[in-house]
């Protein structure tokens, strides 16, 4: 009985995900056709809306920033074989860190320090929100999936209470906090470039994008270059061997979830410090869940996560354009695409593996026969 050889590395990392992605888009295209629109036109509008139209790239990258953070959160946890669905909640409460930091430090410290402290605090609070589920999983065996979902709802309730109550901006009816002081506000790219005399179209893209890129780098160093990262990956791949190697598995689980939450918390830096300049209701708006799709597509690797984030950023921005230009399509189309991507890149990721393996086996066999 012949043994089917595994796929070559490049096929596994690039070809298979690409096929999964195409399948997802193809099925969505069918839905578009069913509701009476032209799938190809829709795709073109999305692409133009994401990259071509003035200001679109800025918007796309602004969304990308959010997805990088939540994607990193999910990916970090995935490396230890943990499923952190709590990105939404962790990002949401991250904003509390910023508000706290501005209240404590803004009156006394120069802008640079305020910004740094805000960043640290948002990461810390996000980390704390993930620490508890991590602890419960490590020490009491509570499934981290269920607890993080619960914590998402808790965050939602907590923030509604705070934003409509103690933190509400005086005189306002809708739940939102006061404006954060100028020293804590991150300049948008438009402002930044205008300092050099360059004129770019206005968009929410701001300096937190650079923070996101930095976060990707930090993630890469952490997971593949540090001893902690080695231990995290070991726990994720083989807990028994990790035990054998003297690794404290519960401790690693807790640390991993904490770091994961920290990445998610940084999303608040983009939204609160860079765009809204205040905490508003539901600013996490589904970014946390999209992070799951990003991590799955990006195979938990920084380069993959960047491109997956870019893809989803383009989807979100393109989706807005779709909404604008087509009567019958709204931004909810993006939800459908997301669902399909999670389905084909996540749950059915290896559906095409046997067929692909056979094709590759035949190619190499024929190649060998030619010798």
């Amino acid at each position: 009985m012949s043994v089917i050889k595994p796929l070559p590395r490049w096929a596994d990392l690039i070809l298979l995900p690409f096929i999964n992605l195409c399948t997802a888009f193809f099925v969505c295209g069918i839905v578009v056709y069913i509701i009476g629109e032209n799938p190809w036109d829709a795709l073109m509008v999305m692409l133009k809306g994401a990259f071509i139209y003035p200001g679109s790239l800025g918007y796309t990258l602004y969304y990308t920033t959010n997805f990088i953070f939540t994607g990193l959160a999910v990916a970090t946890a995935f490396h230890a074989k943990l499923f952190n669905i709590g990105g939404e909640g962790q990002a949401y409460v991250g904003s509390l860190g910023i508000l706290l930091a501005t209240a404590l430090f803004a009156p006394f410290l120069p802008a640079l320090f305020v910004v740094l402290l805000c960043i640290i605090c948002s990461a810390l609070i996000g980390a704390a929100w993930a620490f508890i589920p991590g602890y419960l999983q490590a020490k009491r065996g509570s499934h981290v999936v269920i607890t993080t979902i619960m914590f998402n709802f808790l965050a939602s309730s907590l923030m509604v209470y705070l934003l409509a109550g103690p933190l509400i901006q005086l005189g306002q009816q809708s739940p939102q906090s006061d404006l954060i002081p100028e020293s804590a506000q991150l300049a948008s790219f438009e402002t930044f470039f205008s300092l050099f005399g360059i004129d770019i179209t206005s968009s929410p893209l701001n300096l937190s994008f650079l923070l996101a890129l930095l976060a990707l780098f930090v993630f890469w160093v952490l997971i593949w270059k540090t001893r902690l990262g080695y231990e995290i990956r070991a726990v994720g791949k083989n807990q028994d061997a990790a035990n054998y190697a003297g690794i404290n598995v519960p401790k690693i689980i807790i640390i991993t979830m904490t770091i994961s939450g920290a990445f998610a918390g940084l999303l608040a830096v983009n939204e609160v410090m860079g765009v809204q300049h205040r905490a508003i209701l539901n600013f996490t708006a589904g970014y946390g869940f999209t992070g799951i799709a990003v991590a799955l597509m990006g195979r938990n690797h920084p380069v993959g996560i960047f491109f997956a984030s870019l893809l989803f950023g383009a989807l979100f921005q393109g989706g807005a354009e779709l909404d604008f230009e087509f009567q019958s399509i709204t931004r909810d189309m993006v939800l459908l695409i997301q669902g399909m991507i999670i389905l084909f890149s996540g749950a059915l990721a290896y559906m095409f593996n046997p067929a692909l393996s056979k094709i590759f086996n035949n190619i190499t066999k024929n190649g060998a026969n030619d010798d």
């Binding site: 669905i85 999936v145 269920i146 914590f151 808790l154 509604v160 909810d332 189309m333 459908l336």
Partner: protein, 322 residues
């Protein structure tokens, strides 16, 4: 005193109405989880059912066709879920999350395509919904003190689907504990290989568990949009699927206990708005958000093992490989 009685009756009445979709989804969750499949997708199945029920009821004018449609939609989602995690042994949580996304997207997209109302379905007229039913003897019992009032206000006067839901709990319990299918289903969630070695197909059992769950979620969805409400609105499931999951865990994966958990969560929801105006002794004014967060807080405390030890099915979450 009379006023207090009425307040209580009103609260319990509202509890039943809120708890109806919860208990149906909880039964669904029990069936899938007891067979070994983590079910995060109750929310998506509920939403799909609600949408299809409202759509078909609106287009055909028949509540019954709407109900059937809801069940079909929910079952189809369940089959998709099963395809991903049983046949292809994909991660159960990931496939569950995918189902939820698909439901969120598809319900609005199709809704706009059909009705062009931004995702809503048209409001249904009285005849196109499940109306409250007056049970027999309501008038006769009116003269009986206390009991007559309770009968009229609390027990009678609910829509048909509420009674169906209440029936589903003992039905689910019966199937689970007294039927051959239930025995095998419980077995496959504990040890799939024992079931395999007893000559029973693990795959087919799990698919059937998901299908049964789909039926329950479909009924729940129909209740939301063509009984309790009068149309479908985007994201109208509003997290009820997750609360149902919490109830399943709280009830230790047993139908009757989960039912009480649903009632409790429903009760909390029902009195939230009431409590806002009332100053409780010692605590003061209770924030509405705390009340709505209580089910989640309680579940987390339960999961941490501080009040009793939850005992999930032993083989849950692991795809079966021979």
């Amino acid at each position: 005193m009379i006023d207090f009685l009425f307040q209580t009756l009103w609260a319990l009445d509202a509890t039943l109405r809120v708890a109806t979709p919860l208990m149906l989804c909880a039964m669904a969750g029990i069936f899938s989880e007891r067979s070994g499949i983590v079910d995060i997708s109750l929310e998506g199945k509920l939403l799909s059912g609600a949408f299809v029920a409202a759509t078909i009821a609106s287009l055909t004018g028949s509540v019954w066709l709407g109900l059937m449609g809801a069940i079909c939609a929910s079952v189809m989602m369940s089959l998709l879920h099963g395809f991903a995690c049983i046949t292809h042994r994909g991660d159960q949580v990931v496939s569950g999350v995918a189902i939820n996304f698909l439901a969120s997207g598809l319900t609005v997209i199709l809704g706009i395509a059909i009705f062009k109302r931004g995702g809503q379905t048209p409001t249904l007229s009285s005849g196109e919904r499940f109306r409250p039913i007056e049970l027999w003897f309501v008038d006769a019992l009116d003269n009986v003190p206390v009991i007559g009032t309770i009968y009229r206000e609390l027990i009678s006067g609910h829509s048909l689907l509420v009674y169906v839901a209440l029936l589903c709990v003992p039905i689910a319990s019966f199937i689970l504990y007294k039927s051959r299918f239930g025995l095998r289903l419980r077995a496959v969630g504990e040890s799939p290989i024992a079931v395999d070695s007893a000559g029973v197909s693990v795959t087919w059992l799990r698919y059937r568990a998901l299908i049964v769950g789909g039926v329950f979620c479909g009924i729940a969805g129909a209740y939301l949009s063509i009984s309790h409400g009068a149309n479908f609105v985007r994201e109208m499931s509003a997290g009820k699927g997750y609360i149902a999951l919490a109830a399943v865990i709280f009830g230790n994966w047993r139908p009757i206990r989960a039912f009480w958990a649903c009632l409790m969560f429903g009760f909390l929801d029902a009195i939230t708005s009431r409590l806002q105006d009332i100053d409780l002794p010692l605590i003061g004014e209770v924030p509405a958000q705390l009340m709505s967060a209580l089910p989640y807080i309680m579940t987390i405390i339960l999961l941490s093992g501080f009040i009793g030890r939850p005992s999930p099915p032993s083989a849950i979450g692991v795809p079966y490989k021979k």
